[in-house]
């Protein structure tokens, strides 16, 4: 399966293996990391960002692809929407069917609310389902929520919103308990102790996992619970604009049936946006590890009603996206592969960095190794670095890979690559939206009765997120949003429904002389026909 050049490089990797296994590379100093990020991290390529021209973040920078959507026409600009014709009328409307939305729906339902979930694909079609490596929580004796806070705050470049991060780490152990009680199968020792490992940038081994199907195990359990609780789910139905009432409070959403293109009106006393991230915008031409539906829809809709974005210029490129073969280009190779011992090595088999630096630092170092130092392995899509996986079983015994990272084994063996015997090729892939919508610690926003949870939120992690803190955040802040909405709805009386904010936003764009080149939200990427991106993947 590998090319002759790759096979020759593998011989060098094999020749250096024993030495690499015996020596732990130094970690970088704070100054070295800053210089590396400035020179090589994609967030620092200023020419790939555009100024936002209207709204609460006017003057801030966002990736050009996201700015185009923020500057886009509304989908319903020419549509006739009869706001008196109410198709759904509920206490809590949850938009988005991932882990945050499901957690919110379960909590709101259990608190007595009449809940509706709408999702543009199926319940569980989300990045949550694809999360592999694990979920952090400080529940071991040598660990504490304060230690967890320190790791996340430093790893995020001291930019996290402190009250949100405080809540994240303090609610961590409770989130693990909640999931266990729902029946999530965490990896345990025979005496019940959680098997925990390091992630990049953690100072204690607090990564809980369910093999390398951690997100899938959590998501399918939450989905099963939503069904058991008989919470109605309207699938293949996207929200395309939020609806406010004439007092300017959130009061529902305009929905669109993805199969018939029919518009529908949902009225709600409270709205929870849990629409996820934006990997499918392919910033700077990067491939992505994200779900098909990760197109920043919630950011666009909430920005139009006036919710501020936090760090709209900050994204996570996961250091180990699959780089070869082309069929899996950009798919995630979980950080857990390094957590259990795999070593990064360049074309000459040299360990050029510590394998468990934070993700932003690791990605920048890999890009530097390939682009600037000429030490990458040539592939049909560019360059790549080896992830020396046979080390795992040399350290921990035969069978470790099948037991602890079966999804990874499966992903590569389908193309004839046995990661137990040979190393695999990786390169950074667009993975996570560090920024997003600004929330208060109860999940509420500057727009009354509108809550946000999950990857659509910005500020929890600062400017870089640690492995295992997003599965934690969707559970912690998903539950909080559900509880907050359930506390709030009994006191809400919805006024007359309105969409004037959509017109006002369009006028603001006109006044700012913005050239509107697209309509938004995007809903799904367009991969039809022979586009450049597809050619690269082929």
């Amino acid at each position: 399966m590998y090319t002759p050049e790759m096979l020759a490089s593998i011989q060098k990797v094999e020749a250096t293996r024993q030495v690499r296994m015996a020596t732990e590379p130094d970690r970088m100093s704070a100054e070295e990391k800053d210089a590396l990020l400035n020179a090589y991290h994609p967030d620092f390529k200023t020419e790939c960002f555009t100024e936002i021209k209207v709204g609460p973040n006017k003057g801030d920078k966002a990736p050009t692809e996201l700015a185009a959507l923020l500057h886009g026409h509304s989908r319903i600009r020419h549509a006739y929407i009869n706001l008196k014709n109410i198709d759904y009328d509920v206490d809590v409307l949850v938009i988005g069917g991932g882990g945050a939305g499901a957690s919110a729906a379960i909590e709101a339902h259990n608190a007595g609310a009449n809940v509706l979930i709408v999702t543009k694909l199926r319940l569980g079609d989300a990045n949550s389902m694809m999360s592999q490596g694990g979920i952090q929580a400080a529940d071991k004796e040598n660990d504490s929520p304060a230690q967890h806070y320190l790791d996340a705050f430093g790893g995020g470049h001291y930019a996290a919103q402190p009250d949100l991060l405080r809540k994240l780490v303090l609610d961590g152990p409770g989130a693990i308990k909640w999931l266990s009680d729902l029946g999530v199968m965490f990896d345990k020792e025979s005496d019940g102790r959680m098997q925990t490992t390091h992630g990049g940038g953690t100072s204690r081994m607090r990564m809980h996992a369910a093999a390398d199907y951690s997100g899938a195990e959590i998501m399918r359990t939450l989905r099963d619970e939503v069904f058991n609780l008989r919470i109605p789910v309207v699938d293949y139905t996207a929200a395309v604009e939020l609806i406010l009432d004439t007092d300017g409070k959130a009061a529902g959403a305009v929905l669109m049936n993805m199969e018939t293109n029919e518009y529908l009106v949902a009225r709600a006393k409270t709205v929870i946006l849990s629409t996820g991230g934006a990997g499918r915008l392919h910033y700077q031409g990067f491939p992505t590890s994200n779900h098909y539906g990760a197109t920043a829809d919630g950011l666009i809709m909430a920005y139009r009603v006036g919710v501020q974005l936090v760090y709209p210029d900050s994204f996570q490129y996961h250091p180990t996206g699959a780089a070869y073969p082309q069929q899996i280009f950009g798919d995630l190779v979980t950080e857990k592969v390094r957590s259990i011992g795999a070593i990064l090595a360049n074309v000459d088999g040299e360990a050029f960095m510590h394998p468990l630096e934070t993700r932003d630092v690791s990605s920048a170092a890999i890009i530097r190794e390939c682009i600037s130092r000429g030490k990458g392995v040539s592939t049909p899509t560019g360059f790549a670095i080896w992830l020396d996986t046979p080390v795992i079983e040399m350290l921990h015994g035969e069978g470790t890979i099948l037991r602890r990272i079966p999804a990874m084994y499966r992903m590569f063996i389908k193309y004839g690559i046995d990661m137990r015997r040979v190393p695999i090729l990786i390169y950074p892939t667009l993975h996570y939206q560090n920024g997003g919508l600004k929330i208060n610690v109860d999940g509420s926003t500057s727009v009354e009765n509108l809550y946000v949870a999950g990857e659509a939120v910005g500020g929890i992690h600062g400017r870089n997120r640690l492995m295992g803190n997003s599965l934690l955040d969707i559970i912690v802040f998903g539950r909080i949003a559900g509880q907050s909405a359930a506390d709030k709805y009994p006191s809400v009386s919805v006024g007359k429904l309105a969409l004037t904010h959509v017109e006002d936003y369009e006028h603001a764009l006109n006044d700012a002389d913005v050239e509107k080149q697209t309509i938004s939200p995007m809903l799904l990427p367009s991969y039809a026909r022979r586009q450049e991106y597809d050619r690269r993947r082929l």
């Binding site: 732990e24 100093s29 694909l121 199926r122 569980g124 079609d125 389902m129 529940d139 071991k140 040598n142 504490s144 929520p145 304060a146 806070y149 320190l150 790791d151 430093g154 001291y158 405080r166 780490v169 303090l170 152990p173 308990k177 266990s180 729902l182 029946g183 999530v184 199968m185 965490f186 345990k188 020792e189 025979s190 005496d191 019940g192 102790r193 959680m194 100072s203 204690r204 199907y213 359990t221 099963d224 058991n228 293949y236 993805m258 199969e259 590890s289 779900h291 098909y292 995630l332 259990i340 468990l356 015994g397 079966p406 999804a407 499966r410 799904l524 991969y527 039809a528 026909r529 082929l538």
Partner: protein, 234 residues
């Protein structure tokens, strides 16, 4: 030039690159997918697909996102399959012997044809985990079915009308909640948090000047990397 092959999408012929997966080939042919496309990486089960190579009697199945096209491949997708999903309350449903008989009695009609196992794109021993469920061994059923992505291909092939993925998730939830050994350290930590001391530590840290936090971060001790060689208890 790239190698091309001919495939038939719902019977209609298209020329697509030979290296493409079925999913990429459909998009190459001009489809903009709504159904039958999810994570695109083998985790969500949205893209179950049935196919047959011309001249071959065998009906094959796979995930569109991770199955390469072949010449003369006739393809039909299976974006939805009507599973039987029984509702239950996990708080009161105990891992007792009769629970499968109550909720999924059709598993006792399994005729042992093994079509489910042959069809599984994850290469799970599906018939075996159903056998574990039949005899009330939920621990074994949970572990043997763990890698299930609930694509439903097994259920589509079952002459007894069993919804294997739904049986499996019931077993896994029963195992995770009731049968797996308890994590005592987690309970201890939650109890320890009640007195507020750990919360106060976080607040003390948050309220320090940023330079002090920076210093603490850069000099923090990192737990020994060498993870214990631990085994999941099989």
């Amino acid at each position: 030039m790239i190698d091309m092959v001919n495939i038939y999408l719902y019977g209609k012929k298209y020329e697509v690159p030979a290296s493409a997966t079925i999913l990429i080939a459909m998009e190459y042919a001009g489809y903009r997918l709504v159904r039958g496309c999810g994570c695109r990486a083998g985790f969500c089960g949205a893209c179950a697909t049935i196919y047959r190579i011309e001249g071959d009697r065998e009906l094959k199945v796979g995930l569109a996102c991770s199955t390469k096209v072949e010449d003369k491949m006739y393809i039909a997708t299976l974006p939805f399959f009507p599973h039987i999903k029984q509702l239950y309350d996990i708080r009161t449903t105990r891992p007792a012997d009769q629970i499968m008989m109550q909720l999924y009695p059709e598993i006792y009609s399994c005729i042992g044809c093994n079509a489910c196992t042959k069809a599984c794109p994850q290469e799970l021993d599906v018939m075996q985990y159903i056998a574990y469920a039949q005899r009330g061994d939920y621990t074994k059923c949970a572990k043997a079915s763990f890698d299930c992505i609930m694509c439903g291909i097994c259920a589509s092939r079952c002459p007894a009308g069993i919804s294997h993925p739904q049986v499996a998730i019931l077993a896994r939830r029963l195992y995770g909640k009731y049968l797996a050994p308890n994590a005592d350290h987690l309970d201890d930590r939650l109890k320890e948090m009640e007195d507020g001391g750990l919360e106060a530590m976080v607040e003390q840290l948050m309220n320090r000047p940023i330079e002090e936090i920076r210093e603490l971060y850069n000099t923090r001790d990192i737990e020994d990397e060498n993870i214990a060689d631990s085994e999941i208890n099989d």
